[in-house]
């Protein structure tokens, strides 16, 4: 725990359509760390991911988020992306009519441009894309297809990790990237994540299941319940959750509110 704080969330409260979803989240993520956020359905995991990426439909009630020491909540989604925040979507969006290759080149060049790097031309980008596609065993034919259009669930998730590999983020937030995958696809996705672990990069794995953590070892595991982080611990905590379910967490959480 000696990296610099990349992300500091302080007492974050978030509402949508009048309903409070996040009820005071405090969390610090340092460069080089892998955090896993687990929790039952409806606990606010995806909301947290979307708020960090800049989704505008959420209302910030209270709290602050600092990214590299700056106020993250004031930045547009594209600015966050350009500064190195990457969200792997739980439900990647299909864009028929736009090739994956074109889309990713536009994304990579938008990021490069903002960092003062020269933009890649079609040939340079293709070479890079081919190299990174290997990392997630992504079939090259998917590069030419329209973005996520007609992709299987597993292909969509791999495509997200592939995008992460291309964009080389500082902070990657993976929203249930492991859900719905068979064991082979899960292994490939995990391999991609492990390959991208880096002392300068932090990863937040949002997951419902412990399974992914058999392949990717987190530094910290947090349990999100009813909009609050109710428990944090080492990877043993994930195993405990797997064994006992989320029920005991609920009881503990209610108990702690009473005291």
């Amino acid at each position: 725990m000696n990296g610099t704080a990349l992300l500091e969330i302080r007492n974050l409260r978030v509402r949508i359509e009048g309903q409070e979803i996040l009820k005071g989240i405090t969390l610090t993520v340092r460069a080089g760390e892998v955090h896993s956020i687990m929790g039952p359905n409806g606990s606010g995991k995806s909301t947290l991911a979307q708020v960090l990426a800049g989704r505008e439909v959420y209302e910030i009630v209270e709290g602050e988020v600092l990214y590299e020491g700056e106020d993250l909540l004031r930045m547009s989604p594209e600015e966050r992306a350009r500064r190195g925040i990457f969200l792997a979507f739980q439900y990647p969006v299909e864009i028929p009519g736009v090739s994956n290759l074109y889309f990713l080149k536009a994304a990579v060049n938008a990021v490069r441009k903002s960092r003062g790097l020269p933009e890649l031309d079609a040939m340079e980008f293709l070479a890079l894309a081919r190299e990174r596609a290997k990392l997630v065993e992504l079939d090259e034919s998917l590069l030419q297809r329209a973005v996520n259009d007609g992709f299987s669930g597993g292909e969509k998730k791999r495509n997200e990790i592939f995008q992460m590999a291309l964009l080389e983020p500082r902070l990657a937030i993976l929203d249930e990237t492991d859900s719905g995958l068979d064991i082979d696809a899960l292994r490939v996705v995990a391999q991609g994540i492990n390959a991208l672990r880096h002392p300068d990069r932090a990863i937040i794995l949002i997951t419902h299941y412990q399974r992914l953590l058999n392949y990717v070892t987190p530094d910290v595991v947090h349990v999100l319940y009813d909009g609050r982080i109710v428990k944090s611990g080492g990877k043993e905590l994930a195993l405990e959750l797997e064994e006992k379910g989320y029920g005991w967490i609920a009881e503990e959480a209610i108990g702690s509110v009473r005291t």
């Binding site: 594209e78 736009v98 938008a110």
Partner: protein, 444 residues
């Protein structure tokens, strides 16, 4: 209140003047035909929004303007006019303010077929066009079509002989050049594809400046047995212009037509397309794309009439409307009693980029046979917020994301343009108008 009737009187003086000009240059039957057409025009009167067919298209702004009849080409042919179309490898027939001014290459007809200006033929070989121009005036279904027949500025007569395969496209380029007061032209084209022939025809309507003018065009396409025709109508007139056009397609047995209507320009643009599948097993594809903004109004009225058995029709129209633009799509599929085993599909999809833009889409099926397969669908939507966020979360700015998704909406209809150089050009014309469009041209 201005009734359509009062407005027709203004045209009487213009008609007399036009008759003086063309009197010595056309046969007596043509003069009689035009007189009858003018009488038909007066009897019909201009349409009003009280008529179902014109309910959403108010032509009052057009009626408020007095248009001078374009009596001669505004300018001799200039080679530069063809610069945007060089890559097409086409045979170009060029009309300036409705009058034939030249063709490129100049060595006569496109290989394997006959193509000439109709006014020249009326003087030199009227018998060639007589069967197509000398017709019962009852066929002139609305005032603008009658007006076109009454005036008939000029136009192209194209005949693809039996069995001929004409590979290079024939491009009919109608240019509007500013000339002081607003002017009207009435182009008339006749395309005859004989049995077993094949050809690609592109009709372009383009303004060379941003002035107000009025184009009132009629094109007739007669497709013989087993002939294959691709027809494109490309409308890129000034955003002050009025554009009225009628396309009538008649198909014999096993004839195959692919028609594409592109509408980008004009303040008010209305295109009526009628395809009549007279022969058994005929196949017709009507596709179109419109992209309008500001106060533009674009209207497509299409009728596909299945007369004989085993006909197939496919219709796919897409439109993008921004600002306070308005769109109308009205598509009728009519299946006559004898037209068993007809297979007809129609789809119209619209993307609204602003809250003020509006589109009226109206599919109509009239099925008078019992063993047919017909379907239609229409959608009106906005850009998907989830997709916009996805793009922005990947680093694309909001404007680029909007344009990318707008292009994505249009891409499948543009893919329907089989003639690749035209597809690319159309893509460029659309994208060039967008702030980030240049980046997107890579996708064409």
């Amino acid at each position: 209140m201005s009734s359509g009737r009062d407005e027709t009187t203004r045209y009487r003086a213009h008609f007399a003047a036009w008759n003086e000009i063309v009197r010595a240059r056309e046969p007596a039957w043509m003069r009689a035909q035009r007189e009858a057409a003018f009488a038909r025009f007066e009897a019909l009167g201009f349409p009003t929004t009280r008529q179902e067919e014109w309910r959403f298209t108010n032509i009052a702004p057009l009626l408020r303007t007095s248009f001078r009849v374009a009596t001669a080409p505004a300018s001799p042919f200039e080679d530069d006019w063809l610069a945007p179309y060089r890559a097409w490898g086409a045979h170009h027939l060029v009309f300036a303010n409705g009058h034939f001014v030249g063709e490129v290459p100049t060595n006569g007809h496109p290989p394997g077929c006959f193509a000439r200006g109709i006014r020249a033929l009326l003087q030199e070989a009227p018998h060639l066009v007589e069967p197509y121009l000398r017709r019962p005036v009852e066929e002139l279904s609305h005032a603008f079509i009658a007006l076109n027949a009454a005036f008939l500025t000029d136009g192209a007569f194209v005949r693809i002989p039996r069995g001929a395969v004409v590979r290079e496209p024939i491009h009919l380029l109608f240019l509007a050049l500013g000339q002081g007061e607003p002017m009207v032209v009435h182009p008339r084209n006749v395309i005859v594809a004989e049995e077993n022939s094949q050809a690609t025809i592109i009709e372009s309507y383009v303004s060379l400046d941003d002035r107000l003018h009025f184009t009132n065009a009629v094109t007739e396409i007669i497709v013989g047995e087993n002939a294959v025709v691709q027809h494109y109508k490309v409308q890129r007139e000034s955003r002050a212009a009025f554009h009225m056009a009628a396309v009538r397609i008649v198909q014999a047995r096993m004839a195959n037509v692919r028609d594409f209507s592109l509408a980008l320009g004009a303040a008010l643009a209305r295109t009526d397309i009628t395809a009549i599948l007279e022969g058994e097993g005929a196949e017709c594809t009507l596709n179109g794309f419109y992209w309008v903004r500001d106060q533009q109004l674009v209207d497509h009225h299409t009728v596909i009439e299945h007369v004989a058995p085993h006909g197939t029709s496919r219709e796919f129209y897409k439109g993008i409307l921004d600002d306070a633009a308005r769109g109308v799509f009205d598509g009728t599929i009519l299946v006559r009693p004898g037209a068993q085993k007809t297979d007809a599909r129609q789809v119209n999809k619209n993307l609204l980029l602003s809250t003020e833009a509006l589109v009226n889409t109206n599919p109509r099926l009239q099925i008078l046979a019992d063993d047919v397969k017909c379907s239609h669908g229409a959608t009106i939507g906005h850009l998907d917020e989830d997709a916009l966020f996805y793009c922005r979360a990947r680093g694309l700015d909001a404007e680029m994301a909007r344009e990318l998704l707008t292009y994505a909406f249009a891409s499948d209809i543009l893919q329907e343009i089989a003639f690749e150089p035209l597809r690319r050009r159309i893509g460029e014309w659309v994208l060039m108008e967008w702030p980030e469009g240049e980046l997107l041209t890579e996708m064409l």
